[in-house]
């Protein structure tokens, strides 16, 4: 049975998630202990800032043992974690694994990082030798399903973070960003993030520096652009297409008059002003200048929320794709199960036995009841003795999680 035990951003506060995190360098060791102490045949640990989850495959349900292990490993009282932990088994666990990989269970719906984190977690488990055929199959199927959901729906399409929204808006105004001039006023972290993406799209960056010109020069170097003194604002503004302003200044840095002067020199080309500073850097009236698009932090967040609504609409389509993939995975798993195989094997043997008895009867003519019974007993005994060994061993192998043998046996017996 496949099981998932863990916490995520919905069930546990950050403090709990932090406490339960498994550091990368101790993952192999943790997996080793986990398997020794819980009876899991296969195990994988997914530990990100939004979730800590143990994926496992066991012969018998042992979610409680896994939960106890998580508490013990992090030296917590099991009762303390009880309200945060979820335990999923069988189909529910499989569904969860698929949804996590496809970013449908993420805090930011459709965010792209989780798929990479899932891949890394499986790889770490593989290196630690705790990945068997079942979890490996789960890995392949859930990752390919996640890719399908991403490419066939718009779940990850519209930006929901500040820097991505800024880049996307710039694209809605300028189309491609190649050779567009980006002007950074102030060298903040968020400005850098947005500028970096624009530069990746082919834009050229200029960084305006104030008192700490060195900082501006460093950032300009990192962006492959140039730095300019703050006094050159009007001059640079006239040359820019996109302005990202994020200074820590207490007052207005870019006045309406600056923007007007720049627009006059630009001959009506659009100018995109992104003001991510709090308090704001750009005078609100600058938005009224022709050809100017001014977005402050709140505006960008509004767009992000609208995009989030779009994503939620797309989530339904993504769930439908996953449903289909999950069903296929479960069907495939079921086909590998041992019990139906044993039933089929016995049925097939019995059919052969009956057919052969019929043939023999035709040759032998009428038999006495004693002879009938003897024939029946002899053939049944042969079948039972022949199948006894395979039956016992198959059950054992299934318990050890070696379902690939089931396929082999099906092939051998033509089932």
């Amino acid at each position: 049975v496949i099981l998932v035990v863990g916490v995520n951003h919905e069930t546990a506060p950050l403090a709990v998630r932090e406490a339960l995190a498994f550091p990368k360098e101790r993952l192999a060791d943790a997996l080793e202990q986990l398997r020794q102490q819980t009876g899991l045949g296969e195990a994988m640990i997914l530990s990100t800032c939004n979730r800590v989850e143990v994926y496992g495959r066991a012969a018998e349900p042992c979610a409680d043992a896994v939960a106890a292990f998580i508490a013990r490993y992090h030296q917590r009282a099991p009762a303390e974690l009880e309200s945060h932990l979820y335990r999923l088994e069988g189909e529910a666990a499989v569904r969860h694994a698929f949804r996590v990989a496809a970013s449908l269970d993420s805090m930011v719906l459709g965010e792209p990082q989780i798929l990479g984190q899932v891949k890394d977690a499986y790889e770490a488990a593989e290196r630690a030798g705790s990945l068997g055929s079942v979890l490996n199959a789960l890995r392949n199927r859930s990752i390919s399903a996640a890719k399908r959901a991403r490419s066939e729906t718009a779940i990850g399409r519209n930006a929901v973070s500040v820097s991505h929204v800024a880049v996307e808006l710039a694209r809605k105004i300028f189309g491609e960003l190649r050779e567009r001039a980006v002007l950074l006023v102030g060298a903040g972290k968020m400005s850098e993030l947005a500028a970096r993406q624009m530069v990746r799209d082919g834009a050229r960056a200029t960084v305006l520096g104030g008192r700490t010109f060195e900082k501006a020069e460093q950032l300009a170097a990192a962006l492959g652009g140039r730095a300019a003194p703050f006094e050159a604002l009007r001059h640079e503004l006239a040359k820019a297409d996109i302005v990202i302003s994020g200074t820590g200044a207490p007052g207005i840095v870019v006045q309406r008059e600056d923007v007007e002067a720049a627009q006059a020199a630009r001959r009506g080309r659009p100018l995109f002003l992104i003001d991510i500073a709090v308090p704001r850097d750009v005078a609100a009236e600058a938005a009224r200048v022709a050809g100017v698009f001014l977005y402050d932090l709140d505006d960008i967040k509004t767009v992000a929320q609208a995009n989030m609504r779009e994503r939620r609409k797309e989530a339904a389509a993504a769930e439908a794709i996953l449903d289909h993939e999950i069903r296929e995975f479960l069907d495939w798993r079921r086909s590998l199960e041992v019990v139906p195989l044993l039933v089929e094997l016995r049925k097939r043997a019995d059919e052969i036995r009956k057919a052969e008895i019929d043939k023999a009867r035709k040759r032998l003519g009428t038999l006495t009841p004693e002879q009938e019974n003897a024939l029946e007993a002899a053939t049944s005994a042969i079948v039972n003795k022949l199948l006894h060994g395979p039956t016992v061993h198959l059950k054992q192998m299934a318990g050890n999680g070696q379902p690939e043998h089931v396929g082999l046996i099906r092939k051998l017996f033509g089932l």
């Binding site: 105004i173 300028f174 189309g175 001959r267 009506g268 659009p270 938005a287 022709a290 050809g291 767009v303």
Partner: protein, 271 residues
Amino acid sequence: MDSRAWLLITLLFYAVGALHALLFAVLRRSVLTTVSLTATLLGFACHTSALALRWNEGGHFPALGLHDGATLLSWAIILVFLLVYVTTRVDAAGLFAYPFSFAVVFVANLTPVTDRVDPVLRSLYLPLHVFLAVFGYGALFAAFSMGVLYLFQEQELRSRSPRRFYYLIPSLERSDTIGWRSVLGGFGFLTLAIVTGFLWNHSLHGRYWTGDPKEWAALAAWVIYVVILVARWRGRWGGRRAAWLAIVGFAVVVFTFAWATLVPGVAVAAR
């Protein structure tokens, strides 16, 4: 089947595109994108055969009266729309081309065919002049559509809280570029149409300029486009102003066209 039957089938196909545009405006969703493109392509094929048959039936190039005028104009508009789509993959211009062509083909279906036996109609100038003119109109209609899309998208972006249209219509830069190219193409065809018109006048009347109101109207439209072009070349009027001018320019063109086809006796060649 005769040309009128083909034109009726054309109308049915174009109805799909018109429905698409209607749903888009009401639901703000792109529901029938692929279906409407396919239907329009099939409709255009029927439209072309209607035109060819009518040419054959009439015995002269079919450019007489409202029926022919409407058929030709909508044909050119769809042709240019398809060209824009094939080269840029932007289908948003269809939001205007679909319903407009549907309406115009609808009118063509309702109006009777005008026929006359006149040696003037056998002139090679007729198809040449008319084809150049309708190609020009088609391109200018595309410029008009892109202008409206530009203003829509600009409105969305300036509102800072974009609604659905934001996702569905092209970027400002794209609308601007396609609109500009359409103006260039349209202006080229319009110029050639005016030149052939003058040459035709000369061959008929011995004069290039006859003082016909249509000549004045065509000249007015041409001057407006010259202004747009010069302003743009001098780097003054990009974006928003160009979008508005493309809309105004097209309005003037519509006026000329309506005058030429609707007011009896203005159709120069046939007088």
